[in-house]
Amino acid sequence: MSETYTTIIGLEVHVQLATDSKLFCGCSTRFGAEPNTQTCPVCIGMPGTLPVMNRRAFELALRTAVALDCEIPAFTKWDRKQYYYPDLPKNYQISQYDLPMSQHGHLDIRDPKGAFATKRVRILRAHLEEDAGKSLHDEVAGKGDSLIDLNRTGTPLLEIVTEPDLRSPLEAKTFLSELKLLLTYIGVSDCNMQEGSLRVDANINLHIPASSTDPPRPGCPSDQGKHTIATPIVEIKNMNSFRAVERALEYEAGRLWHEWQETHRKLGEVPKLTRGWDDVAGVTRGQRSKEESSDYRYFPDPDLAPVTVSPAEVELVRGSLGELPAALRARLQDGFALSSYDADVLINQGQAVVVYFLEVAESAGDAKAAANWVTQDVLRVLKETNTTLDSLGLPAARLAELIRQIKLGDVPGPRAREVFQAMIERRVDVAAALESLGIAAVDESELIALASKLLAANPKTISDVRAGKAQAVGALIGQAKKQNPNIDPTRFREICLQLIETAL
């Protein structure tokens, strides 16, 4: 079927910016509070109140726009988008219309499995706006009333709109994952879809080769270049995960194809439709659209001053971003030979963990071991103890030292995790940890002496080995461990076999 049409997808993503307070007032943006406990006269839109813009929200929006390689105009202003809805207490949303704070950026996406070629998705615009509240119907079901909760009202959002550059549901999903990676990496949002910090609407239609219906007539200039026919655009809402986005788009592409075959209706012949995704049923359903809802009567908000941004400020922001995930991923894979999986696990943890990893890897001289220790052990401890790297008490240099000493045999491999644990618990270096655990490195001569002594006392072992039963040495390892718990069993085994062989 993919040969019969091309799927054209554009996304509209609303991202909650990681501020402490709302966009225009001091109310907290914390998730999960009791309804209407995080509101004030300003975000209730009470008569006489005025909005004052949160500097941090603007900075985070700017940071995102620069990370998406957007153009940042020197002048941006705030507009009122007017529509009546009970979760929008002023009955207008403060947003941006004709002069958004950023436009014309891009984000590159790639598929590790190679399902599509690495491609550039253009960003049409990204603008700052306030969120609305919530209408809850279920909780008061039967009463015919809806309950309005304004806790969310006024939460800062960045609306990111892509060009219709995506060509498959998988590309759409990949774009979202890459966007989330970027946004969490630069610390502008937690992108938590369950808590509504990231919301996606998708626009989809099909381009159908003209040849499959009415091919361009030869010699007719107006038909030349018109090789495709576009179907009407549908906007899909209510998708609660990236997987849901992918499924909804897959479903809708198929539905549009069927509809095309039945109706042959083209773009422009019917108004844009909105459909909601039902995740349980796995279908999209038509939503009622109000005929007058499109007249938003945007006009500049007289309560808010415009913002100017100089090229120097933009460069300052660019400089503060550091290496972005795409570049970093390439470096981790190419320069440190990490798998794409390991690279993503690290990058997903954010900048601090990546910097930590790089320090450990470079200092230990073993990227693979560094990746293992950081992705498995360090992240586990962070998660278990709910702490950050800063307060973990294990500087990168110490972890690197541990890795080096394991390699040198100074730390017995089987006890390395114990040492690691002790280093964190006692906040000490490798040597101190070893000492506290009573682990002393056992040198080669000590091992040889112990092996000779035990072999002498166990002649049966020698004869068994000579008879071809090398595993008989195992019994000696057990005895050796009792005498000295720090021995490296692998090395001890090698020495025993060597001694038996040379004694021949």
Binding site: P41, I44, G45, M46, P47, G48, T49, L50, P51, V52, M53, R80, Q82, Y84, P86, P89, K90, N91, Y92, I148, L150, E291, S294, D295, R297, F299, P302, D303, L304, A305
Partner: protein
């Protein structure tokens, strides 16, 4: 001289010397209101108990020699459009009849901090939309000089209160002349500061890019005193100017040397009442006699000011007033009746098999909005909401709203050019003295055209002041308007004071 003819400055001197207590002064005003406001209708509510309590607190401070604010114990009347915590703030509208804000407007906080005594809330045109105070949902306010006439508006209650001697000082708001015009028509002094000079936080918005709070008093000195107490930067208002506030009270008495007074050619055209023209020309003569030079200037776009204003103000108003929908505050329609009405409408359409009508039928929510708003707003407010919605709607935005914003800049540029040549502009405040109550009912456009001399200052953001400069043949006050460049309030006050000292218009009072 009876107490109510004394200026605020004189009262303050007496309070400071202990000649009078704030409680006595406040009680005198309260008694006068109780005796006479039934005839004027200046106040929507008088807070006797609260006022006397505040007055007693100021007296106690003085007695204990604790610091007392600059308005120490002076009664101030406040237009019922500034939010006062826990007190009704109605904007003279049914829709806010029961609204009690959980917070104070910044101006209210500043008045409290200055130890003013908040004596009561004055009447206004509903949501400050009007020039006669007739559109108040609750009562008519009469002009103390002629009870058959309006006091002007929209701050008609505040102007009438000062003119009638119900309060030495009052607060108003001015979106298109709503302080200056009633001041002129009631024979008191009123001032609109530079846009952004006084915080708008807590002032219920009519047209946000034009609204400004300002003082009323019996003299220029009193107005300077009240302005000084309320002006200044407010971090809660992003449009408030972060500029220092000069000591207006100290400066107001200093005459301006080499003053250049401009008079606008376009202000003296047809439609200007002969008495008004004569009084204003005489006032220009007074300036000349005080050593000022007179200069004829032109504001070529002035004639478009009313058209520009009646696009921008209603557009902003249509948006600002969208929040009154009966959900979070304010009036909500009777839901049972609403649902019954909706069911009846549906039945009728079904019987008529009117599919289109059924498709277009309001949802319960939309009907709730529409009924609540239509019950809550009066005709003038509805008219302006409709006008503004129309000017902003698809297909008309460029021709009306955007065009008006461009003409607005041309109006501002005219002033910038003019203030290159003169220090102050002087002229009439209204084409004629106060109209009779009901005189222009049913002719909104004629009413709008009376704003011809005032709206330009709001569009350009300039400070303006109106003070009495004469009486018509019928004995009605005539006002002189003075305009200055942005932030030149001190110059404006000094220029006004020069004139006031050379004349006696502010020493006569209406008989009640």
């Amino acid at each position: 001289m009876p107490f109510f003819e004394q200026s605020a400055a004189e009262h303050l001197r007496n309070l400071e010397t202990g000649e009078v207590s704030s409680v006595d002064l406040t009680r005198s005003y309260l008694d006068r209101i109780a005796a006479l406001d039934a005839r004027v209708g200046a106040f929507l509510r008088v807070d006797s108990e609260g006022a006397l309590r505040q007055a007693a607190e100021v007296d106690a401070k003085r007695a204990q020699r604790r610091p007392v604010g600059p308005l120490g114990g002076l009664p101030v009347a406040v237009k019922d459009i500034l939010c006062e915590r826990g007190q009704p703030t109605t904007c003279a509208s049914r829709i806010l009849e029961n609204f009690r804000p959980p917070y104070d407007a910044t101006v209210i906080s500043r008045l409290r901090a200055a130890d003013a005594v908040l004596i009561g809330r004055t009447n206004l045109d509903e949501f400050a939309m009007g020039g006669s105070t007739e559109s108040s949902a609750f009562q008519v306010t009469r002009n103390p000089w002629d009870l058959e006439r309006t006091p002007g508006g929209s701050s008609g209650g505040s102007a009438a209160a000062v003119a009638a001697g119900f309060a030495p000082l009052a607060i108003g708001t001015d979106t298109g002349g709503s302080i200056r015009q009633p001041a002129g028509l009631c024979g008191v002094v009123g001032m609109k500061p530079t846009y952004g000079r006084v915080s708008r936080y807590g002032v219920v918005a009519y047209a946000s890019s034009l609204d400004q709070v300002g003082p009323f008093g019996q003299s220029v000195e009193d107005v300077a005193m009240l302005l000084e107490a309320i002006a200044g930067h407010d971090p809660r208002d992003a449009t408030s100017l972060n500029e220092p506030v000069p000591a207006y009270t100290k400066e107001v008495g200093l005459p301006l040397a080499n003053l250049r007074v401009g008079w606008v050619r376009e202000h003296f055209g047809q439609g200007l009442d002969a008495d008004v023209e004569a009084a204003v020309r005489a006032a220009l003569g007074v300036y000349e006699s005080l050593g000022a030079t007179l200069h004829e200037i032109s504001l070529p776009h002035a004639k478009y000011a009313v058209a520009t204003y009646y696009v921008i103000a209603p557009s902003e108003a249509s948006s600002n007033l969208a929040r009154y929908d009966g959900v979070h505050f304010g009036h909500r329609t009777n839901e049972k009746e609403m649902l019954a009405e909706l069911a009846a409408d549906r039945k009728q359409l079904e019987t008529a098999c009117d599919r289109q009508g059924l498709d277009r039928l309001d949802s319960a929510l939309v009907r709730m909005y529409r009924r609540s708003r239509s019950e809550g707003f009066g005709p003038e407010v509805k008219r302006r909401i409709m006008l503004g919605t129309y000017a902003l709607s698809a297909g008309y935005y460029d021709a009306y709203y955007l065009k008006a914003l461009k003409v607005r800049r041309l109006i501002r540029q005219d002033f910038d050019r003019a203030f290159g040549q003169v220090d102050l502009i002087a002229g009439p405040i209204t084409p004629a003295p106060a109209i009779k109550i009901g005189e222009l009912a049913g002719d909104p456009l004629a009413m709008y055209l009376l704003d011809i001399y005032t709206v330009s200052a709001n569009l350009a953001g300039l400070p303006g002041l109106c003070l009495p400069c004469g009486r018509s043949a019928a004995g009605l006050p005539i006002g002189l308007q003075l305009l200055a460049p942005p932030l030149a309030e001190a110059r404006l006050l000094r220029g006004a004071r020069m004139y006031e000292q050379a004349t006696t218009w502010n020493t006569t009072h209406p008989e009640l």
